[in-house]
């Protein structure tokens, strides 16, 4: 589904990604682990098309289509979703309005009809119930005054509502206590399916106890330094990133 080949990218003048190659087939969950500054968030922003992240070499394709040639909203309409490490506050826009606007924009881009108000409400109630989100919270401006945990839960809520095919979770566990982590992980696991793929970016192994990856990659100094099964995450938890950082 997602295929990244020899990706180089820079932010301002600094080269952050230095030849990253990765294949993520449909139906699989891959974890990307790495020390601070390795380029984990840069990867998520390059894939979603944030301004200021310049690709200098290499390719990234989604089902064979050049992802890097598309505008951010076009990538979203093709099923790419990023759960932000630091979700933004959107004053004056109720969460429901924001999500409905996003859904309809995506549908329009795909040539589908808009979601009807009753259909949208029904689905929102269902998903909010699963994620233990108070429905009234969805009427408040998105993320404004929400706790760190509530913001992360709202990211998963949006993800479930938008039903993307390629999911990137950037440090979704940060700021979560153990109960919130379980709820968020359950929400993510509910979205696992043979036609979806997930990239779980995390610094710690903890999240991977709840979202079990098929593969674990170590990102160090802008490239994949090692790949393996879930056991690699445990090894990193024991031994740290030192040997990869040094090797780079």
């Amino acid at each position: 589904m997602l295929s990244i080949n020899n990706l180089h990218a820079r932010v301002a003048e600094a080269e952050i990604l230095k030849g990253l190659t990765l294949d993520l087939p449909a139906g699989e969950v891959h974890a990307i682990m790495g020390p601070n500054g390795a380029g984990k968030s840069t990867l998520s922003y390059v894939l979603t098309g944030r301004q200021g992240y310049e690709v200098t070499e290499g390719t990234a394709t989604l089902d064979g289509e050049d992802l890097l040639a598309l505008e951010p909203h076009e990538r979203a309409a093709r099923g790419l979703f990023l759960s932000f490490q630091y979700p933004l506050e959107i004053p004056g826009v109720p969460a429901m309005t924001f999500i409905r606007t996003a859904i309809n924009a995506q549908r329009k881009a795909r040539g589908e009809p808009e979601v009807s108000a009753p259909e949208f409400l029904k689905r929102a109630r269902e998903v909010a119930g699963q994620l233990k989100i108070d429905f009234d919270m969805l009427k408040r401006p998105l993320n404004v005054g929400f706790s760190g945990g509530e913001k992360k839960r709202m990211e998963i809520f949006q993800m479930a509502m938008l039903s993307p095919r390629l999911l990137i979770l950037d440090e979704t566990d940060s700021g979560l206590d153990i109960d919130a982590l379980k709820i968020v992980a359950d929400g993510v696991n509910a979205l696992r399916s043979p036609d979806r793929a997930m990239l779980v970016i995390t610094h710690y192994q903890r999240l991977l106890d709840y979202i079990r990856p098929d593969k674990v990659h170590v990102l160090a100094a802008g490239r994949i330094a090692a790949s393996g099964g879930p056991e690699l995450a445990h090894e990193l938890e024991r031994e740290g990133y030192d040997k990869y950082a040094r090797a780079a």
């Binding site: 979203a76 932000f84 933004l88 959107i90 004053p91 004056g92 606007t101 938008l162």
Partner: protein, 346 residues
Amino acid sequence: MTLAAALRDRDVAQLPSRRDEDWRWTDLRALIRELPAPSPAAAAPAQAGPFGALGDAEILVVNGRVIGDESLLRLAPGHTRTVRLRFVSATAGTAHGASLSISLGAGARLTLLESYEGLAAGYLADANLAITLAEDAVLERIILAQDDEDAVSVSTATVDLAPRARLAQTTLTTGAKRQRLETRVTHPGHDAAVRMDGAYRVRGRGHADLTSAVNHAGTDGTTEQLIKGVVDDQARAVFQGRITVSPGADRTDARMGHHALVLSDRAEVDAKPELLIFADDVACAHGNTVGALDEDALFYARQRGMPEDVARAMLTEAFIGEVIDRIEHEAVRERLRSWAQDGRIA
């Protein structure tokens, strides 16, 4: 130096100019070399104003002449009324002025739906309102200015409040060639309350000036003010807000905020928020920000699937919408909601 005096005496030397500190950003003297001919009498316009049929009565002021029953603006004690007051400029290239007085008896409640409607090009218009509120009276004043882009338009209101009276005001404007909407409030304290909000959406070469002065003369008064605006192209917006807390006006609570979005490099916002405090034990605060749309929020919305123009419109509307949300009259609030999107009434 006022526009009213200049029109009365047909004397451009009496126009306000940059020599007057309060007018330095809205200089009329330098703009107007010669006063246009006085506007002729004109018929009432056939079309409804921007407030449609909301309210109980309508008073038209066409080319400076009142058509309708002006006495509807004088409420006896305890009476309640909603009135549309429409200032209509109907003849191109001419000048006119009008003065009205509005009074609310004790405990009276007036919702005033005040519109400035430019139905011709390039006029010069002046309006003066003298407003008095007796004890416990409540005035919600909603001003919608839709002047012609080539017009010069000034509206000045003086408001005198009695103890426990309340003024709640919202001004929405898209500007003109040069336009000033000014309100001066004499605030007696003693549980009288003022909310004086406004929003501007100015584009092209438009100019909008929201100026206000509130003078707290007694103890225990409150004033809150939220002004928000968006300028684009080569437009210019001016906000001058002055709150004075006079000696002895202790326990005054005054809060002022002005926040502007500048969408173009050539647009300009001039802001002068002033809190002048000569009393003790007061709670006063002001905030003033001028900036661009939050790029991070914009990317966030785009990542969720919104094209850039949709995301920008949503964030801009939300920014202005905060002012509309504070309008108390529900039907008016809903009617003006679309103004936050594009400065028009749907």
